[in-house]
């Protein structure tokens, strides 16, 4: 019974290349632009953030950690939300590309989450006098990090890669409950971490000389995500095409 199931999947996996092939062509066209935009935005953001923006009147020069920390934290959430959307479309429409997108996003999201935690820790030492506090914002981001790790462990734990993608998709959707907790943790609990100052209704509570580098870095990180996603998707698709060819060869030979 299993044998017939895999062979029917094979014929399906061959004709589903139609769509990924079109995607690959599109990705190929986008790739140089996103890579270039990434380099430009990050270079401009770092220059403005490190040299042009004024030091904070209380925090001094260490405020510049913000230009990496805040965009990384945004990206940690954005990549996870993106993975959740991809997971939902994998489970609902069984879109094969969606599973690969979720799989390819997870390491990027993990890296951004780690970057946010790491830079936050570096920032916390001079400001709060400690590397780490068990504050609601920090703890919920740490849990996000663990969920990312669980996702990567689960997706690689199965012989059949599609089974792994679907199982990880269910986990991703369950983990979505953490996103609003992270976002609102600074409002719901009385935390050491400061509340949002950019994404407020009305005017942001931050001067434009600091806002610009922040937004440029966020844009640069987003382009980095797109660039890496294209690279990883290309590798994943080649790997799955290789697997399908090996299966076919084994069947014929």
């Amino acid at each position: 019974m299993n044998r017939t199931a895999t062979s029917s999947q094979q014929s399906g996996s061959l004709h589903r290349f139609a769509n990924p092939a079109r995607f690959l062509r599109l990705a190929q066209a986008v790739f140089p632009w996103s890579a270039g935009a990434m380099a430009l935005c990050i270079a401009a953001g770092l220059y403005l953030g490190l040299f042009v923006a004024p030091p904070d009147y209380q925090q001094g020069e260490s405020v510049r950690i913000m230009y990496v920390h805040v965009p990384a934290a945004w990206m940690a959430l954005f990549v996870y939300a993106n993975m959740a959307l991809a997971s939902a479309s994998l489970l609902i429409w069984r879109h094969p590309l969606a599973g690969l997108i979720a799989k390819a996003s997870a390491p990027v999201g993990t890296a951004f989450t780690f970057l946010a935690l790491f830079t936050g820790s570096l920032w916390g030492k001079p400001m709060w006098g400690t590397w780490w506090v068990w504050d609601a914002r920090l703890t919920s981001v740490l849990i996000l990090f663990f969920i990312y790790l669980g996702h990567m462990a689960l997706i690689n734990a199965f012989e059949n890669p599609e089974r792994g993608q679907k199982a990880a998709a269910v986990l991703t959707l369950v983990g979505v409950v953490n996103l609003p907790i992270i976002k609102f943790s600074v409002d719901w609990w009385n935390t050491l971490h400061q509340p949002a100052s950019v994404t407020r209704i009305g005017t942001p509570a931050i001067h434009s000389s600091m806002l610009w580098p922040l937004l440029l870095m966020a844009l640069g990180f987003t382009f980095y995500y797109v660039t890496v996603l294209i690279l990883r998707l290309r590798a994943e698709m080649l790997a799955s095409r290789l697997r399908a060819m090996n299966r076919l060869a084994a069947e014929e030979g």
Binding site: A157, F158, V170
Partner: protein, 225 residues
Amino acid sequence: MSGGGAPIRSVVARDLRLALRQRSDILTIVLFFALTASLFPFALGPYPDLLQRVAPGVIWVTALLAVLLSLERLFLADYEDGSLELLALSPLPLEAIVLAKTFAHWLTTGLPLTAATPLIALLYDMPASGLAVLLAAMILGTPSLSLIGSIGAALALGARRGGVLIPLLVLPLYVPILIFGVAAVDAALSDLAARPHLLLLAALLAVALPTAAFAGAAALRQAVE
């Protein structure tokens, strides 16, 4: 209701019968709970004030670990001998089967653990007011542990190193229950209102019920596909 309830009851009864035949499994988990909880006085030193202070956290963490130990067998035996496929083919919705099996799991882990809690609380010299709230919190919280755990157990079916994988998937999601479970007891011990924390635990249970039913059923469907 009576027509739809009978098959569900028989799923619960079957799991209970299987668990009671292997009574040592339940005992092992309770024993693990008691032993792990009694390790802390050795590690922290026999200071009554300190032990009283850490008791709610220690009891919750050890109960949580004991539940983790039991999660792998929630679906694994049925998956390996093929009865899970028969259950999936039955006209009963898979969501209901997940809830029934999780309920049986709670009856054989969460409930015995809650029953053993007064003994541990005694060892830590917990005041009666704190113990009452702790028991209420465990009655509300341990079903959520079983429910969230059932998602992890269903997802890890057929995975390599499934037993190691389940804690990795489930522990991050257990954190809210741990937080509010301990906060309720801490509030009671410092003469604050424990009710908000208990209500939050109940809310978590209300969220965990449908989440586990749908996510667990989706995971089982993939496992038997």
